[in-house]
């Protein structure tokens, strides 16, 4: 049973790996949590965010799970901590989840988020897989946003590693599409934040 220690805190329960068999619970069809994050009528620009998860050998990771949390096109989060949350777009869930069974690839269908406070538009991303005892936290920015140079979180990242967080717009796609691989280890390792 959890109980308070002398400092008036409770000690955290350790993380464990998601393992290889999460699909029936976390990725099942018909659930409200899926890679399609925007319903018909969602406000703003429809966009696809896609990429491949890779391991330390540069090999695709086909048994990962990616989660995305984002604001709507006006930069509003559908959560009470956002002072504007009553105006959040009801057609955007703001939360998506994808497996990577397609050769390590994920593909989210959503709306391009607006700026939140003084931050450049971004996605908040979590990565889970067999072989990861703790999930990894990262962010994804967009290469066509000039405000990236003033983003307070990107500014904390060593300059030569920033590109691992900036998704590239595909010039020829019919729907606005941004691509970024998530590299767990090795050359071009994605910047991960403290979880």
């Amino acid at each position: 049973m959890a109980c308070f220690n002398k400092a008036g805190e409770m000690k955290q329960t350790p993380s464990q790996t998601v393992g290889p068999f999460f699909y029936d619970a976390l990725i099942a069809d018909g659930r409200q949590i899926s890679p399609v994050m925007a319903a018909a009528g969602a406000r703003g620009q429809r966009m696809i965010f896609t990429g491949c998860v890779k391991d330390g050998d540069g090999a695709p990771v086909p048994d990962a799970m990616i989660e995305v949390w984002q604001a709507d096109a006006a930069g509003i989060y559908a959560h009470p901590a956002d002072p504007r949350h009553a105006d959040a777009d009801p057609a955007l869930s703001g939360f998506g989840r994808s497996d990577t069974r397609a050769g390590g690839h994920f593909k989210f269908e959503t709306i391009k988020p607006g700026s939140v406070q003084d931050q450049a538009p971004h996605l908040t991303v979590r990565v889970f897989s067999r072989g990861m005892l703790l999930h990894a936290n990262t962010r994804v920015y967009f290469d066509d946003e000039p405000s990236n140079t003033r983003d307070p979180v990107l500014s904390l990242v060593p300059a030569m590693r920033r590109e691992t967080l900036i998704a590239k717009r595909l010039p020829t796609a019919a729907i606005l599409t941004y691509v970024l691989d998530i590299v767990l280890q090795g050359g071009g390792e994605t910047v991960f934040f403290t979880p």
Binding site: F4, Q12, P14, Q16, L26, L133, F193, T194
Partner: protein, 235 residues
């Protein structure tokens, strides 16, 4: 970015590292570069919100939610507990997604082909939600131990996977619940990856006779404590 509210951070003493060589698949999947400390902006203070509409009664009864032509085989158990943040506040409307092997230690997923029987009336997947007091309950069949190929004669101790959403995205946690007295715990690299012994013990449920229901199901209690508690702003 000025936002006075800060959240408590992940207690690195309480959690496993990314790299733990005895768990072989961490060798190629553990990030090696230093983690960048993330300031807590509105993006971190928010997260998906769930409620009553997110879970049905059958979702939280794994002993009934996949029944086709009979009852699943194995010991029916009730699992209950609280979700707290590390300031000790109950986390209300925390969505908990659950999955596990059957009583024989076999997962329904086709990736698991080891020679233990599939139960036609059990898929081992469910969901539950904490109430206004931060309390959750679900019913299931006690899972068996499961062999895996990490090392010679490797067996995972019986466990139930828990994936939790809390009051904000920083409270997100995936963990595993174990059972008291399981001799396989001492041999399991995943369980033992957490270096602190008291932290490891927090992953073990407690048999609770007050939860046991006569002639129906044994009861286990498992509390979960997540980080991401809102800190009082310094004035």
């Amino acid at each position: 970015m000025a936002n006075q509210t800060q959240l408590s951070r992940l207690d690195t003493q309480a959690h496993p590292p990314y790299l733990h060589a005895p768990y072989a698949s961490t060798l190629k999947r553990a990030p090696q570069q230093p983690l960048i400390p993330l300031p807590h902006t509105l993006s971190e203070l928010t997260g998906p919100v769930y409620g009553d509409g997110s879970v049905s009664a059958l979702d939280s009864d794994l002993s009934r939610n996949a029944v086709r032509n009979g009852e699943p085989i194995g010991e029916r158990i009730i699992v209950t507990g609280h979700v707290y943040d590390d300031a000790g506040r109950p986390v209300r409307n925390a969505l908990i997604e659950l999955w596990q092997a059957n009583a024989c230690g076999r997962y329904i997923h086709k990736l698991d082909q080891h020679p233990a029987p599939i139960d036609p009336n059990f898929t081992g997947a469910g969901r539950t939600l904490t109430n206004a007091l931060g309390e959750y309950t679900f019913v299931t069949i006690k899972p068996g131990a499961y062999p895996w190929k990490n090392h010679y004669n490797a067996w995972r101790p019986a466990h139930i996977h828990f994936s939790l959403f809390g009051a904000n995205i920083m409270q997100r946690l995936v963990t595993q619940m174990y059972f008291p007295g399981d001799p396989l715990l001492a041999l399991d690299p995943i369980y033992n990856s957490t270096p602190d012994a008291r932290a490891r013990e927090r992953m073990i449920s407690a048999y609770d006779h007050s939860v046991t229901s006569p002639e129906w199901a044994l009861g286990y209690r498992f509390d979960i404590v997540v980080c991401g508690a809102k800190q009082t702003p310094f004035e």
